[in-house]
């Protein structure tokens, strides 16, 4: 059996080293070493994914190529880490560089939106009937939830990708609009608390009667789900969904935009014990007018993302919260006839922060014009192997698909150790 987050090979390696050292380690001492090793894995207790739907241009965000034929309209600016530059339209984020790790060598082969979205969310190519689970669903399942009532996997603005073979219980709870109370979480306006409770009593009478003659387990399961829904309705943790409770200064700092409020809600949810929050920001599919659109998107993203990092750090949550920023692919270095960029999976960017990630660095490089990865190509499974390590999840753990074949959490990925603290 695998110890949490430590793969079988590493543990054997450790033992081999201890014999070579000639030390006659006692069993308890050995346990102590493996425990120490395991302690470094699993720093992150929760995760926020900032999902840039449409495919954000790497050159116009975190891998600028100023002065080249493909560089486009934007220049680079310095950050608080010497030698690292990012797009000039991310000035606030540039100040948070010490906590950010930029992965410039992400590479994949899928250029179709739906397929790429699936691939980057699950680490598996969509093929046939098996529905692989979104990483969020995996986290919801593998990590012990600290919130009694809030769902473990919440998606803001988007349906995300579902839980697939892990089953509907780990599917994301979707919030369509961060500015409104989530749908259906409150009693209908004309129904007082008293009346709602009376309705519940009537329901119990009906169910009790029916269950008496129908012992099938499905009914009990349904009642369990209903109970959880009712608990959620009555939970004090519900206030986590209400960003209006934050003072104006904070809300302004995040930008008071859709993405700003979504990031703010994400922070609140994490504070309330939610394991995985996905925030979707749409609009990055800039086949036309790339620079105009991207400038607007960045003006909204910059305060939101940077405030999130700063907030997590100031509330002491950054160490235990893994933050991921990425989209389904990048965009062509070549600018098309409509002043746009098209899909480019060969080289794109992801950004990581918190939860055991070593910030203030860039991993991998692309060529001078941004076409291909030059150093240290990173595949999506490699990314997930690394993230699993941070979260203390066993990447090799397998679940059974409907066809009965074992599907591992990560499809053979290599941990990028330089990313880890």
């Amino acid at each position: 059996m695998n110890h949490r987050g430590v793969c079988e090979c590493s543990r054997r390696e450790l033992l081999r080293w201890s014999w070579r050292a000639g030390a006659a380690l006692s069993f308890s001492q050995l346990l102590g070493i493996t425990a120490l090793f395991a302690q470094n894995a699993g720093k992150a207790k929760s995760c926020i994914l900032l999902w840039m739907a449409g495919g954000p241009s790497q050159i116009d965000t975190f891998d600028p190529k100023p002065g080249t034929p493909t560089g486009g309209e934007f220049k680079g600016i310095s950050t608080t880490v010497p030698g690292i530059q990012i797009c000039e339209h991310l000035p606030l984020l540039a100040k948070e560089m010490k906590d950010l790790a930029i992965l410039r060598s992400m590479t994949s082969r899928e250029g179709n939106h739906d397929r790429a979205r699936y691939y980057v969310h699950t680490g598996y190519a969509s093929a046939g009937v098996t529905q692989h689970p979104s990483f969020g669903a995996v986290v919801a399942k593998e990590l012990v939830s600290q919130s009694q009532t809030l769902p473990a996997f919440i998606s803001i603005n988007g349906p995300s990708v579902g839980a697939g073979l892990l089953g509907v219980n780990f599917a994301p709870f979707v919030i369509r609009d961060p500015d409104k109370t989530p749908e259906n979480l409150g009693r209908s306006r004309h129904v007082t608390r008293e009346r709602f409770e009376q309705r519940q009593e009537l329901l119990e009478v009906l169910n009790a009667n029916f269950d008496a003659t129908h012992p099938q387990p499905e009914f009990h399961k349904k009642e369990q789900i209903y109970q959880r829904a009712l608990d959620l309705m009555n939970s004090p943790a519900l206030t986590a969904f209400d960003v209006s409770r934050e003072n104006d200064t904070i809300r302004q700092r995040y930008g008071n935009t859709k993405i700003g409020n979504s990031c703010l809600m994400a922070r609140r949810l994490i504070q309330n014990g939610v394991k995985f929050v996905e925030v979707e920001m749409d609009g990055w599919d800039t086949h036309r007018d790339n620079f105009k659109t991207t400038r607007r998107l960045l003006s909204e993203l910059d305060p939101a993302f940077s405030s999130l990092i700063r907030d997590l750090r100031e509330t002491g949550l950054l160490e235990t919260t893994l933050v991921i920023w990425m989209g389904e692919f990048g965009r062509t270095p070549e600018i098309n006839a409509n002043a746009g960029r098209d899909h480019w999976p060969q080289a794109w960017c992801a950004v990581l922060a918190g939860g055991g990630i070593r910030g203030g660095q860039v991993i991998g490089t692309t060529d001078s014009k941004g076409y291909e990865v030059e150093q240290q190509p990173i595949r999506v499974p490699d990314l997930y192997a690394t993230l699993s390590q941070c979260l203390g999840i066993d990447a090799n753990k397998a679940h059974s698909s409907p066809l009965g074949r074992p599907i591992r959490i990560v499809d053979h990925g290599n941990v990028i150790s330089t990313l880890l603290i």
Binding site: V168, N209, Q216
Partner: protein, 525 residues
Amino acid sequence: MKRAFVLILLVVVVPSIQPAEPPVAALRIDSSYATIWKEKGIVSTQRSSDEEFLRRISLDLTGRIPTLDQSLVFLESKDPGKREKLIRQLLDSAEYGEYFAALWTNLILGHEKERFVDREAFQDWFEERIASDTGWDRIVSLLISAEGSFQDTPQLNWFARQKLNPNNLADDTARLFLGIQLGCARCHNHPHDQWKLEDFYGLAAFYSGMKPERFDPIEKMKARELKSQKELEEFRRTLPLKQDSDPNVFAEVQGGRKTYPAKFLLTPQPAHLSGESKRKALAKWVTAPDNPFFAKALVNRVWGMMMGKGFVEPVDDMGSLSDNSNPELLAFLTEDFKQHGYSLRLLLWAIANSKTYQLSSRGGTEGIYYQCGKVEMLNADQTLNSFLVITNVDEKLRSRNRGDYEEKRDLIYRHHVFLFDNDDNRGKETEFRGTISQALFLLNGKMTNEAIRPLSDGATSIVLRRYPDTELRLDGLFLTAVSRRPFPAEKKVMLKYVEQRGDAAAAYEDILWALLNSNEFLFNH
């Protein structure tokens, strides 16, 4: 306008089912299980009550609960042959064609609306075939060998959904029409079952080389300057599809590249395509009477829909390693199905008339020998349709304006379907597939509120208007929601509740709310 066409078709073409005696197949089903139960010392539940049967058969054949009036008529009838008549009535109804077309559309096109796919056209086409009881062999043949453009040939929306990808089309063909999972054999020979790479790609080869005529998006775009993405897609839909006659497909597997010839399953040598189109040849093989998979797969799947689970589960994976709980009966029903022109309607009629199907679900435990009536959560279509019945939107809109009705229904469905969707799109499971989101939607959502409002034309107001008496009103609510009158214990509680509130409309609203959130309502049992 399509609706009128369907109605005409119904009147002219439907073969009448000969009445009165139970179909031979139904008798065979019952004798098969009587024997099995005796052998294994299994005790079955009793015959379902009229109420149980009424609700179950309505949900199974028309995807919705019966209306208040339909319930009253059926329950009050003293005709000993009323169940058989009800079955025929339901199979003759427009809702039957609609529902089964929706089921098949969900299976073939998935649940999500895709930009390039005209779901409605596909579903309408399917509905016409089902309403006219076109043989299943003919339906599938029309699907596989479809010609024309996406625009004028509705079946081609299946191809559109799979983006003309031969591998996906082969996967679908095997899964949906042959009950075989070839998925594994895409990348390597199946580790346990008999299928190899040449089987998978041999099937894919029949779908290879399809593309729209004169398809050159870059040129088109240049020529028409700033043609929007939407206009371009619409243009593509009008181009007739062509398919080359190359009998091979090219695949990249196991790190290498290989060419596979078109080949039928279970035949080692490549298919002999004597000049006819690839897909016509495939359609012929799939629907041939001696194809060992085709009829069996449909019969098993439909049996599963009616009885709760197939003889073989999962129904799209009937490979050599899956257990068959009753091979003789499945073989008999399969042969019977073929003998009767692959009629879906006759198959459903036979199953519905069996005593085994009509067993009660009360007090029993389900098993592979169907000794107890099935229990399963309502699927998305059934849930939505049933709420529409309660809200009475169904009747009203239907009679007024068909197009408007379809649009409204579509809107509701699209908005809510992702809540009820199964992630794996494979149909039934016996586990409750609910999530917290679904529960919240039912507890507090718009759909429930609209259904129970006393000030609309829905169930509450109908019952209040029609019956002056409290007890009759309660009967009306229960009959509407769960197709039965309240039991004495329930009636006592409900009466007290209503009286305490001075017979206010709100009290009835609350009762209906409870009914719509109850186990009894949300499950088919």
